[in-house]
Subunit: 397 residues, 2 copies
């Protein structure tokens, strides 16, 4: 088996025109994919493959189309990544060969995707035509096309897609005010469970790290829609009614990404839409227990893997800054300025470093989370999302 | 960079005598290490390398010495594993080549090890001579030898070793009743912090998943020793005094493995020593909040990654059974008999399956955690510990 793998690699290497090695040279042993990741170069539609141990760029994968709002999920092996382009293209790329192994133009306008718990199915959430499409993770062959038809002939844009245990996906219908669960575990057609009247215009959602609570933000009204998926009969309840948005509507410069919400221990930290605040919420009763003043309108609010810190970036005009909250004192303990137009932050799996993309400075900064020292700065063309292979191990990503 | 890597692989493949491929054949792309793992074959001192996606054995790594109480930690790449043998040998193996890349006979009697947060240092905890030794993770060159000398000329056996953020390790001194932290972040000698009089005979310990609480079980008295490592000035406090052990001493057929203790949400589930019970403890105040009757003396009590289930195996004579606790109802919902002498259980990273070793039936069972159906049974020689590469991403493992 080992030899078969290496011979397969040999074939690949031969295709690339490597010089024939002298047989007496013992090569460096191959390394795994656990410390690999990609940085999205949104303007030119490419990825940079990076290594978080050597803190280097290993090479690029180009020709992936419009990556202006791209997201990435990982197969179970951690070297296979699925890239969802804004233009509706779904690409399967390999972080070891830097090649695109499969690609399908699956819709006209897509906003991300998810991968099933067992890694066998990849789902894309689409604006145009509204619905989700599910693909075989190996071949990208279409397995199911599930239009979000909420009234005769009316298709809703789909947001907030996440995987649930088993071959299930949960997602929100922006135009319908509904949440659906598609179950693809059976042999026949997908089984759809619909939650209606969840609130107006769910615009994004998150799944808590344990997969228990699905929470959709509502653009059309104050509060959020929550489902306890472990309840014997799950139903939608409203939480955080009047948490700020409706109180005195403020201009919103950029919608927060709910998937970035931080759950640290028993508490969740979430961006207050339009306000310079991070809300602190008790996940046992979903009541607000505090607010933390920050430097701008928060976009991503992400916990370091151990939950001891929460890092926040901001909408324009404060998007050159990143702030760090200590979760024990609930104080901002550090303000960083890693570069212009910070779009995303990704922690290494055990949290010793965070990678931050600064789009308008064309760079990615690697920062130690204990000393806040910048360890490395890498060049990338208009970098946006950063996605490490450790996401393969997590639900709701 | 990509080409350099492949050429290196080509060299390796050439050494193995692969047939020269025809250049027109496009090889199967290489896959990552995210779904790899090892099964310890304790009697013959070997590992079986397995894949959790294909549920297959890929090959073996032999010649690792006495693996009768072996444990394994992973480098950041997920393909490099460090094997701590009972005979004091430390081996660095590669899950892609199935080769041993480095090996050192570092002590006379060892009981496991840990890897630093940044992956640069590997530490072994030793009984003989008592202390820890720290090695360069790349070369296995000795970096620091730290004898556990608690009184002039007296060395303690070391147990309960775990990594802390930064280049730090925490461990317990069985013979001294002390807990030490070794900090190797500075340029000079390791800085040692000592906690004295923690209780008699700490025999094993665990670090909570967030790295905040270190808890040592005490063999010599009732209760456990706990340190809140996030406190401004960490100190030892006693928890769960009189939790059972001292009440009416019972014969203990096998000491529970504390590192297997389950933390699911706010609650921790832990084996009651000598009793047929699992204790439920609130991690906010470390008070006991319940007990669950189980089929025998629990050894490993491990939460499924989402915390919705806790799986338990048992000491002799009940070690053919495995029980599943539902954490919402705190009831045993399933009793399984996967084979004789169940020694270990390991969940896939997203929890859809669990791998269980049955030593005396020479097999490893792969069981779905939703339906409890056995998906695959693999043959292995007297299998004990099972360690998946996803451990690379976790603290305290």
């Amino acid at each position: 088996m080992k030899q078969a793998l290496l011979c397969a690699l040999l074939a690949t290497a031969a295709l690339l025109g490597c010089a024939t090695p002298t047989p007496t040279v013992v090569a460096t042993p191959p390394t795994g994919s656990g410390d690999l990741g990609v940085v999205v170069e949104r303007a030119q539609g490419s990825l940079q493959v990076i290594n978080t141990t050597s803190r280097q760029i290993l090479g690029g994968i180009a020709g992936l189309g419009d990556l202006s709002h791209a997201s990435v999920v990982y197969g179970r092996d951690g070297a296979t990544a699925y890239v969802f382009g804004r233009d509706g293209a779904l690409s399967k790329v390999n972080l070891l060969t830097h090649k695109t192994d499969a690609r399908v133009q699956q819709s006209g306008n897509s906003i991300g995707g998810a991968i099933s718990q067992d890694g066998s199915l990849v789902a894309a959430q689409n604006y145009q035509p509204g619905g989700i499409k599910v693909f075989d993770a190996k071949t990208l062959a279409l397995v199911a096309d599930i239009p979000a038809e909420y009234a005769p002939g009316k298709l809703s844009r789909v947001v907030g897609l996440a995987d649930l245990p088993g071959k299930r996906f949960i997602y929100s219908l922006f135009d319908a005010g509904e949440i659906w669960i598609a179950d693809l575990s059976g042999p026949g057609l997908p089984k759809i469970t619909k939650f209606k009247d969840v609130g107006r215009q769910p615009y994004d959602a998150l799944l808590t790290p344990n997969g228990r609570h699905y929470i959709a933000g509502l653009f059309g009204e104050d509060g959020l829609a929550m489902i306890d998926l472990w309840a014997p009969e799950p139903k939608v309840t409203r939480i955080l009614g009047g948490y700020g948005r409706g109180q005195e509507p403020l201009p919103v410069f950029k919608m927060p990404h709910l998937r970035g919400w931080a759950v640290a221990g028993r508490l969740a930290y979430l961006p207050a839409i339009g306000r310079h605040e991070v809300l602190v919420v008790d996940t046992e009763n979903w009541a607000e227990v505090g607010r933390i003043k920050v430097a701008g309108q928060p976009v991503f609010v992400i916990a370091r893997p151990d939950g001891r810190q929460v890092w926040v970036n901001f909408a324009v005009p404060d998007y050159n800054r990143v702030q760090v909250i200590d979760t024990q004192t609930r104080q901002v303990i550090k303000t960083l300025e890693p570069g212009k137009a910070v779009l995303h932050m990704e922690f290494t799996p055990r949290g010793e470093a965070v990678w931050i993309s600064s789009r308008d400075d064309n760079r990615v900064s690697v920062i130690a989370t204990d000393s806040f020292e910048t360890q490395t700065v890498l060049s990338a063309d208009a970098p946006s999302g950063i996605f490490f292979s450790s996401r393969a191990n997590r639900m709701g990503f």
